[in-house]
Amino acid sequence: MAREIEFREALREAMSEEMRADPRVYLIGEEVADYNGAYKVSKGMLEEFGPRRIIDTPISESGFAGLGIGSTMLGLRPIVEFMSWSFSLVAADQILNNAPKMLYMSGGQFGCPIVFRGNDGAGGQLGSTHSWCVESLYANVPGLKMIIPSNPHDAKGLLKSAIRDDNPVFCLESERLLSVKGDVPEGDYVVPIGEAVIHREGTDCTLVGFGRTVYFCEQAADELAREGISCEILDMRSIRPLDLDAIIRSVKKTNYCVVVDQSWSFASIGSEVAAEVHAACFDDLDNHVHRVHNDDVPAPYSHDLEQEMLPNARKICEAVRSVTYNA
């Protein structure tokens, strides 16, 4: 039975269901217990699971991220919540050096089944230090997986897959999406990591997005439809592994591709997808892949400036018109 629930509730269901099923799973992070979660994702979980499994930490990302990673070496399966992925930067050594490399540098002796999750990307006028989109930075590292769900259904299904995964999985959520509602099945189901989905079918141009940018793509596709341009929106859902086949299938159909990525353009997921599409679809492209990113500036505070910085619908429309020679 599916019912409509919020994105944050979908995340909570995923964690609670997995914690009921597996005592090795615990949730740790700032304000996850007593406070019910800074963004209420873990609301009520302390009550159900108690303070031994829902664990408040000091403001000490390097410490508790490392603690989580260390505990995986003895078989636990932690969920580490970063209040914001912006704060994960101080734990970069732990989450990039230890988690994804443990298996390799121990020659297969110690894996790292851990989930790091939290808000990523511009929240709303949070300024430069709190508006990080870490996906392009972190996706560069082999050994980790990365998921960025765009809707409650995928959020629950992907997070459950992540918790069961034997590798470190980075789950990037958006503060702007936590209140979005959507149909979510009750009970157990998973969305496999590494499978993209066609969010909307179209014929004239492929829009590749993930997370919040799927909504920007939707707005743009609506506007472009009025101009007679039919966009196909592909929701990547997983960044690592990347479902390149799905992207290629769509681009081979439309011959045009615009990648929408909310991180900066330089050495980014957008540039990675573009490079792969250029290689795989070379003879099917009628124009080079166009990319829409956050502007190459630190996130500003001012509302209008922030909106302009984002990979918004206007920029996507411009890119689609340009890539299809309708500019």
Partner: protein, 374 residues
Amino acid sequence: MSTTETANHVVENTVPVPDPEVLKSWLRDMLQIREFEVRSMQAYQNKLAGGFLHVYNGQEAVAVGCIAAMRHTDPVITAYRDHGHALARGLDPKIGFAELFGRIDGCAKGKGGSMHFFDRNNSMFGGHGIVGAQCPLGTGLAFATKYTEEVIKGGTSESVTACFLGDGALNQGSVHEAMNLAVIFNLPIVFCVENNRYAMGTAVGRCTASGNQITNRAVAFGMEARSIGGMDVIEVYREMKEIVDQVRATSKPYFVDIDTYRFKGHSMSDPRKYRTHEEEQEFEADDPIEKLTRYLLAQKAMTEEELKSLSKQVRLEIREAVNWARQSPVPDISELHHDVYADTWGDYTGTSLPGYMNPATDEDAATGEASNGS
């Protein structure tokens, strides 16, 4: 017998000195570590070993004494100067050399190198390369034993984690975060600071506030702490035994400042211009191996002949280990893409344990007795 000044008070140590046979096994362990390091340096200069090499000469009493005070299932984790701990924990030296030489029979199949001696069978959770980064991991190990024993199994916490770090790590934020977490979560962990007086080439006093009494760091966290000598394996053992037993009983962390000395440089490329030859000679005269030897001879627990025979035996064992490791094949190129992910995905081709951990496939390695440690 010995008294140890802690941060606040003087404690009488009541741990008895172990039997001579135990002491002889420690001597053997320390000799093995020393000989392993000597041959490692030789191998490095012969280009058999690459990368960085940080040897443990002079600090053997610390690893051997500390680990002797623990149970074999108690987790041990350390930084990059990790050969001694792994050997003291029971890693077969030939597996260690194979790792140093980048061979498939190494403990990390040649993918880790000198800084990453892992040995799951012996509760050795690695050598870690980034200074201080092993401390949050160590708290995680302590958290995991406690969680498993109390939350999952519903019993009481009974494991103790030893997290080794150098004096240079004391100024890393992650170490402080780990200590704070260990205190507020009541984690059964001992932070064993191997205070060899130099953070690479920088003397403790030049880079560490209140460097003359580093236990002050622990006091600030409300953590019990003491300073002990690190050149006498008996002392190290007796102090650590007391500490480990206490931590096992209380499930509260402990901080121990172990005074020791690194006979060689930070790494193989270190000309040691930051300290005097006289200083080095002074500490070399305090060699922990000679100290234990003298003790055993004085106690008539061992004859000169026995000592010679033991030394020779260890030298032979290490020579054979080197030769064995030299025969080990370099990893197949397919190993490059192996062990990146725990499951099969994309170009990556799954994972498996190192050969020596799998008796079915490597009988020779599996039967190599854990002749040291525990």
